[in-house]
């Protein structure tokens, strides 16, 4: 490879020198005859027309290339939207895209067309044209009006997306850390999150999210570090946080993105309208899975911060929730963190009667396991 580069660059240098000396020789003969004024070194040379024509030819070829490549690659553009607001932003994306594409083609066409039409010609009379206030007014107001249209559509959609989540939204606590995501659910018994505090975080002690076990609401909370489940057709409110550096929750198919900021919880709510199974059927890809990625640089394995997202039918979702083990059950040592007066209440979750192992839909588990070993470390 090194050799190849060395050879190539030598070739390059030799070639350019050849071209230089050749053209210099040619130009010497040429400039004499064409240019009457020897002071005028910047006079158009014999490549002038070729350059003007070249610019226009470049543009024609570009149009063909753009259209071809657009058609060839468009199937992976904006992966199939699976959320309600996502369909709306996609719509406005394409509307804006059409608007700017019209601008793109018209304005570039003028630029390259004029380069071609008005390439130097000894006999042309240049029009001394310094300004035209009407023109300036027109081309200030037209973009301004177009812009205003786009702003208002954008504002409307943005306000809707960022409005308060509906009261019945399913809440999920999602925390970014170097380098992975952990999600926490409020549990099936009280459906209330226990408080958390970063000072209580303890990876070794089995409490990476800093759940406060002096708050009885936390007893039935459960968490998961390899997959997040959400119900289809129901508002979901992500309560987003980070515990070390910035991260950003990005769910490409859901058109969801929101930074995770240490010390400043953020949120994003949305409604998924296609379950994982729906998408598998629609795309004809039985192995399809929704994914969550990180889009704020967070260090070495930023590119590997993947979490699987499973969108269940609401009933399946409830079943899945019931099948999950509360933090206390997973790690009975956490009972030590519970104050004495609440121990009795907490005991229920530590006791060995495992509730509903058999409810786990077999498929879901294997699906997830089958894929999660692809997660990069």
């Amino acid at each position: 490879m090194t050799l190849l580069i060395a050879i190539l660059s030598i070739l390059f240098i030799v070639l350019t020198f050849m071209v230089v000396s050749k053209t210099q020789a040619i130009l010497k003969g040429l400039t004499k005859s064409e240019v009457e004024d020897s002071e005028y070194l910047g006079a158009p040379d014999k490549f002038n027309s070729a350059n003007g024509v070249g610019l226009f030819a470049f543009w024609i070829i570009s149009i063909v290339g753009i259209v071809w490549s657009f058609v060839a690659y468009k199937k992976d553009f904006l992966p199939e939207a699976s959320s309600v607001h996502g369909k709306e932003t996609d719509y406005w994306f394409w509307v804006s895209m059409i608007v700017i594409m019209i601008g793109f083609f018209i304005v570039n066409t003028f630029l390259f067309l004029f380069s071609y039409l008005y390439r130097h010609n000894k006999n042309r009379k240049v029009t001394f044209y310094t300004h035209n206030n009407n023109l300036e007014i027109i081309w200030t107001t037209v973009p301004a009006i177009v812009m205003a249209g786009l702003v208002f559509s954008g504002l409307r959609v943005w306000t809707k997306i960022t409005s308060e989540a509906p009261a019945n939204a399913e809440q999920i606590d999602i925390m970014g850390k170097q380098f992975g995501w952990t999600v926490r659910y409020a549990g099936v018994d009280d459906n209330q999150f226990g408080k958390y505090n970063y000072k209580l975080m303890d990876d070794a002690g089995g409490n990476p999210m800093g759940v406060d076990f002096s708050d009885p609401n936390s007893f039935d909370d459960f968490s998961n570090a390899s997959e997040m489940h959400i119900p289809k057709g129901k508002p979901v409110l992500l309560k987003i946080r980070a515990r070390d550096v910035l991260h950003s929750v990005f769910i490409p198919h859901m058109r969801v993105k929101m930074d995770a900021v240490p010390g400043m919880p953020t949120k994003f709510w949305f409604v998924a309208d296609k379950s994982t199974a729906d998408m598998r059927a629609e795309l004809g890809k039985p192995g399809f899975n929704y994914e969550i990625a990180c889009t704020e640089i967070c260090g070495r394995s930023h590119f590997g911060m993947k979490l699987l997202l499973v969108v269940d039918e609401p009933a399946d979702y409830e079943k899945w929730k019931k099948s999950q083990k509360p933090l206390l059950t997973e790690n009975p040592d956490l009972l030590n963190k519970v104050p004495d007066n609440l121990k009795a209440k907490a005991q229920k979750y530590v006791a060995s009667d495992e509730p509903a192992e058999e409810v786990v839909p077999e498929v879901v588990a294997s699906r997830v396991l089958g894929n999660s070993n692809k997660v990069l470390k």
């Binding site: 003007g52 793109f104 003028f110 630029l111 004029f114 001394f128 044209y129 954008g154 994914e291 070495r300």
Partner: protein, 628 residues
């Protein structure tokens, strides 16, 4: 200490100290106070940095285009950053990937397109085009370059330390950049980055203050503000932007230094890292982002405005036609400058900032598109019915206009907060800013070098090589950055070492490989430019004083302008700089120093009235001598 003053003196005598004693080599070429030498120093530094930044992009482009490639052959110069995997294949270290991206961005934005571009052309052209003997303070100007030089050395050294250079991206968001344990690049590399940037800011402030002062105070007789070439307007607006925004970055950096070294909590709160909860509470990482982008957004105009200024001059000269809408151009630049300060949070739509603020910034952002569009239209109308000479400079200027349009349009999508949710931090953004600011500004810089080379070095650059350079680079840039839009629309996040871990991003391998190949060709084509540049300095064809038949004052100096720029008196200015192809005139250009009384055949009616004023202008007396 040399300083130039242009005070109006009423009683005037002959000046004895016009002639200058010869300076020694060191004072003439190294610690020079001559704006032309300083400009060349900036230019050469900028070119060196640009090559380094471009080669870095090739390394990480290879990683993205060919993730399975054996990179062992780069071990000789990358050392431990290439590790051998179990199959004996050389792999780029992911931390080093991030460090490379960080350095690439920092170098390109600050060292090449701020120092290299403004430093070169503001320094070179301001005194020459406004008719001054030098900058207001030659000493400050020299200081500005040498502080920049020290800053460069520090940034360069940071490439070689064991933990590597800064690795938190060019925006260095804390907490990542504040916590040494979060990333090797947040250790000593980050410290050096901060020190280097602090010096850089000092240098750019010294430069900026000098530019503004010079333009305000040192214009020659008759050079009223409405006769300034658009280049000078552009440089002045740029300098004002820098003066007002760089100090904010400096304070952001200082607070970050405090957080890193003195235990303060400006940006830190509620952090648990390496099995330990840190004591910091109450800080806000978002505060840093506000401060950073308060510079960061004006910075992109600091990068592009000088390029647009150079382009105005080059397009008018080579179309042999006045720039269309001179006043509209000034007003749109003024509008851009003003608005540039109040759009910064469009970089932060999804940081959790109050959504109402998001709406306001979206509105302001889309407003700034209007003056930018006006500039594009004015350039194109300047070409209309012109008589275009495609010098290499002109070709690059036209390329700039095309990039500015193509890249600017996608800004309309990104400025829309609802659409930015999906596109933020994807390759769509990378494509957008590389066209509108990166490539456009680089093209402006290249156009400027080709155009003003004869005045800088007294020789011409080779045209044929210029054409080859232009065509490969122009096509190459589009081939590199156009497909990146597609990758971005598909959702590929930026600052990713590889995407294959995600099913969603497991496509487009062919496109990524294609981009990498196009980038390699484009970067290697710059060799043509370097050869041409070096060759022409020594052996290029001898230039004439005004090779492009241009109107501005720099072309009235001798072929190799000496210290003080004009051997005799500084020319007086009577007209605007764009009298190209004026009806009735024998030549297709009338330099600014030709009085209306000498051109009765081509004067417009209102210009005939100005003839009376010429006496008045002539009778002004400035003391324009250089003091030592």
């Amino acid at each position: 200490m040399s300083a130039v003053s242009q005070v109006e003196v009423h009683e005037h005598s002959e000046h004895a100290h016009e002639e200058h004693h010869e300076l020694g080599f060191i004072r003439k070429y190294i610690f020079s106070e001559d704006h032309k030498v300083i400009a060349k120093q900036y230019l050469i530094s900028g070119i060196v940095w640009a090559l380094l930044g471009a080669f870095m992009s090739l390394v990480f482009r290879l990683q993205l285009g060919f993730p399975d490639m054996d990179m062992a052959w780069m071990k000789p110069f990358l050392g431990d950053w290439i590790s051998l995997d179990d199959k004996g294949l050389g792999k780029l270290d992911p931390n080093f990937y991030l460090a490379l991206v960080t350095m690439h961005g920092t170098i390109m934005v600050f060292f090449v397109l701020t120092a290299g571009l403004s430093g070169t052309f503001s320094n070179f052209l301001i005194p020459l085009q406004i008719g001054a003997r030098d900058m207001a303070s030659g000493f400050m100007n020299m200081l500005s370059y040498w502080i920049f030089f020290i800053s460069s050395v520090i940034m360069f050294v940071s490439l070689f330390i064991k933990t590597g250079p800064a690795g938190g991206s060019w925006v260095i968001y804390p907490p990542l950049s504040a916590l040494k344990e979060a990333n090797p690049g947040s250790g000593d590399g980050m410290t050096l980055w901060l020190v280097s940037m602090a010096l850089f800011i000092v240098s750019s402030l010294l430069g900026g203050i000098n530019y503004v002062t010079t333009v305000i105070n040192l214009r020659t007789k008759g050079m009223s503000m409405d006769k300034l070439p658009l280049t000078i307007w552009a440089f002045t607006f740029t300098a004002v932007l820098g003066i007002l925004s760089f100090p904010v970055l400096l304070s952001a950096a200082l607070l970050l230094i405090f957080d890193r070294s003195f235990g303060t909590s400006f940006y830190l709160s509620d952090i648990y890292i390496n099995g330990q909860a840190l004591p910091n509470q109450g800080g806000s990482p978002i505060l840093f982002q506000h401060l950073f982008w308060f510079l960061g957004h004006p910075e992109v105009y600091i990068v592009i405005l000088p390029a647009l200024g150079l382009t105005s001059e080059i397009i008018a000269t080579n179309s042999r036609k006045p720039i269309f809408g001179y006043k509209a151009m000034i007003f749109s630049m003024a509008g851009i400058m003003f608005l540039a300060f109040i759009v910064w949070a469009h970089h932060m739509f999804v940081t959790g900032m109050n959504p109402f603020l998001g709406s306001v910034f979206m509105l302001l952002t889309l407003i700034i598109a209007v003056p930018s569009a006006v500039k594009g239209f004015n350039y194109i109308t300047t070409l209309w019915k012109g008589n275009i000479i495609f010098t290499p400079a002109m070709l690059f200027a036209i390329g700039l206009v095309s990039f500015f349009i193509s890249g600017g349009l996608t800004g309309i999508i990104l400025g829309n907060s609802a659409l930015d949710i999906q596109l933020h931090d994807t390759y769509f953004v990378v494509a957008h800013f590389h066209l509108v600011m990166g490539s456009a500004a680089i093209f402006g810089m290249l156009a400027g070098v080709y155009h003003w080379f004869p005045k800088m070095f007294g020789r011409m650059m080779n045209n044929a090589m210029g054409y080859i350079h232009f065509w490969i680079t122009f096509i190459g840039v589009y081939l590199v950055f156009f497909p990146m839009h597609y990758i971005g629309i598909a959702g590929f996040p930026r600052r990713y070492y590889q995407w294959s871990g995600f099913e969603t991003f497991n496509t487009y391998m062919d496109l990524n490989a294609f981009i990498t190949i196009a980038a390699i060709i484009t970067v290697f084509a710059q060799i043509v430019f370097i050869l041409n540049f070096v060759y022409s300095i020594f052996w290029g064809k001898k230039a004439t004083a005004n090779p492009w038949k241009s109107n501005t004052l720099e072309w009235t100096t001798p072929i190799n302008p000496g210290h003080g720029n004009w051997p005799g008196e500084i020319p007086t200015v009577y007209r605007w700089p764009y009298d190209y192809s004026k009806p009735g005139a024998p030549d297709d250009f009338i330099p600014q120093n030709v009085p209306f009384s000498a051109t009765p055949e081509s004067n417009l009616p209102e210009e005939n009235e100005l003839i009376e004023k010429e006496e008045e202008i002539n009778s002004i007396k400035f003391d324009t001598s250089l003091h030592d």
